[in-house]
């Protein structure tokens, strides 16, 4: 089992005809993902290496039965692309694009909840999602993930997601699903959404969580873990030594007014019973101990 995507997931790529969309769309297909369609209103009727291109997501869904979409559209078009996907009838939308304005994200989050409550948006500004051996949507290098479980991964950071997958693979530990929620201020999918899904997934026995400074998503996750999780969790929070007021790359990664510090996040997670590592390797070692204890 896995969460959100599996071998039955059929994906339409919005922006498949662009260089990024084509590159990762074909890589994802090579991995085994069912890449069933692309969209581009100006190139409808053509194909990308055999993948048919339609004018709209709605047409792609009607013709191919696509259930998910992956967006490689430049930032100015992402707001409309997400709404097009939701209207078009897919239930899962992965927006890889970075640099989407915060107001667009805030509007999207609330609009989807109101008009399309059954649609899940992952991202924007995220590496995507992989259920190893079944489905890889986005820019994760599939071969660094070992299929099979028992660990689920949820991460706010791209490269640290790969690092986490790699640490586990080195130890021979597999992964059910690895979700990169992205580091932007208003992600479509939160830590809590993923933790709840992992808690409900029978194949996932433990969860590894990678957080970052800024905001309060990790603190909220800690509260959820304390109240609702029976499965063990290990965590790492990047930016322990980041100076206040400095924006470290991601829009989300900033410490302001003493709030959102890594120390506060790690304390909250520890208080919730999470085994916190001071670096990704240590978090991986904690997970190896947890997995060994599962028997």
């Amino acid at each position: 089992m896995s969460i959100f995507v599996d071998s039955d997931t059929k994906v339409v790529y919005q922006g498949l005809t662009g260089s990024q969309g084509r590159y990762y769309g074909l890589l994802n297909r090579d991995y085994g993902t069912q890449v069933v369609a692309g969209t581009n209103p100006r190139k409808a009727g053509t194909d990308v290496d055999g993948i048919p291109v339609y004018a709209t997501v709605a047409e792609a869904v009607a013709e191919t039965g696509a259930t998910a979409s992956c967006i490689f559209i430049p930032a100015p078009g992402v707001h409309e692309a997400v709404l097009e996907a939701a209207r078009g009838g897919v239930e899962f939308i992965v927006a890889i694009t970075e640099g989407v304005p915060a107001h667009d994200e805030a509007d999207l989050y609330n609009r989807l909840r109101r008009d399309f409550p059954d649609v899940r948006l992952l991202g924007p500004n995220c590496p995507g999602i992989i259920s190893p051996g079944q489905c890889n949507i986005g820019i994760t290098a599939g071969h660094i993930a070992l299929p099979g479980g028992p660990v689920g991964i949820v991460s706010r950071s791209g490269t640290l997601t790969y690092q986490a997958l790699f640490e586990l693979k080195e130890k021979g530990i597999g992964c059910t699903t690895c979700v990169g929620i992205g580091g932007d201020p208003v992600p479509g999918t939160s830590f809590i959404d993923c933790l709840a899904a992992f808690e409900a997934d029978p194949e996932t026995k433990a969860v590894m969580m990678i957080g970052e400074i800024g905001g309060s998503a990790e603190e909220e996750a800690a509260e959820f873990i304390a109240d609702h999780m029976t499965k063990p969790v290990s965590a790492y929070v990047a930016g322990v030594t980041a100076p206040p007021g400095k924006k470290m790359g991601h829009a989300g990664a900033i410490v302001s007014g003493g709030r959102g510090t890594a120390a506060a996040k790690m304390d909250a997670l520890r208080a919730a019973g999470v085994r916190v590592g001071l670096n990704p390797t240590e978090a991986g070692e904690h997970m190896a101990d947890i997995v060994a204890d599962l028997g």
């Binding site: 660094i144 997601t161 690092q163 998503a217 790492y236 990047a238 470290m248 990664a253």
Partner: protein, 389 residues
Amino acid sequence: MDLFEYQGKQFFARYGMPVSPGEIAFSVEEAVAAAERIGTPVMVKAQVHTGGRGKAGGVKFAATIDDVREHAANILGLDISGHVVGRVWIELASDIAEEYYASFTLDRSARKHLGMLSAEGGVEIETVADENPDAIAKVWIDPVDGLDEAAARAWVAAGNLPEVAVEGTVDILQKLYTAYVDGDADLVEINPLILTPDGRIHVLDAKVTLDGSAVFRHEDYAVFDETQTRDERETAAHARGLQYVGLDGSVGVIANGAGLAMSTVDVLNQVGGSPANFLDIGGGANAEVMAGALEVINNDPAVRSIFINIFGGITRGEEVANGIIGALERVRIDAPIVIRLDGTNAEEGRAILEPHLSDTLQMAPTMLEAARQAVELAASAGTDENREA
């Protein structure tokens, strides 16, 4: 992007908010000429991207032109928390009956916009929040609905402003919300928002942070980008399109991905070192990007060693290794380098690096070991220098 106060006021004025007439001045002569055009009394206000201007002596009332000359001379060049004042805003002085506070920002937990209004303005809102939280009226706004007049009216009522201030505040808050949304701001703050003795609501200060990601729909924001506070290193990195934050230490950091770069900074601190910077080169790690990153680090005189931390995902180890070798052929690097290369085809990449290794170009198998090596190298480089001295 942080705006100076005067830029913030000009931004607010576009949305119909009442601000005082004023001019920007870069010298005492310009300040005097501005004050002569505006007419005294005026305020002479330091323009810096930091708070605490008043306490530092950066905001002065000038009743006469001689006062303007004296205050401008004192304020220009003043160091306010590390920010040297290069420009002053000369603005017609206002009579104040009462001072309020108003702001909009994004509440990330609620995924809604948060408006804050207080009848206790003119002081730090954090202080009000600590000492008298009930004095702040908060409203959460769904971006799909926006802020209509009825909601603004209910909010102002909750703020306990005097009757005479209500109409003007309802009006200005709606305009402030429009500026916040249409202008793609992360933060708009007016502190103080004043009530004048003749009953007008007026903007006396402006703090505005714009969303750098939204520049594509605001071409005119380029002018604000030019006035951002960056040190020399940050300016050099910005010109090369690199994500760079200057820090105070001696180990230069290059990593691919913001999370990994942050993590590298963490690990260096954990093994007793001190990072000189945060530098994210993104996913590619080709020779050109790597050379640019090394140039930026090389120009930092505090750097004693360099830690290159790359995790290959889609980008394969061979490409990363060739990128590093190519960059080293193009840039002469003074400080010793430690490389940690992991991920996709890491072994092939390491094999490419192997013949190039020396005392000044080292490789380590893990992040932690690479960090230790880099810190040791930085320490011994420091010792050598002491010996020479």
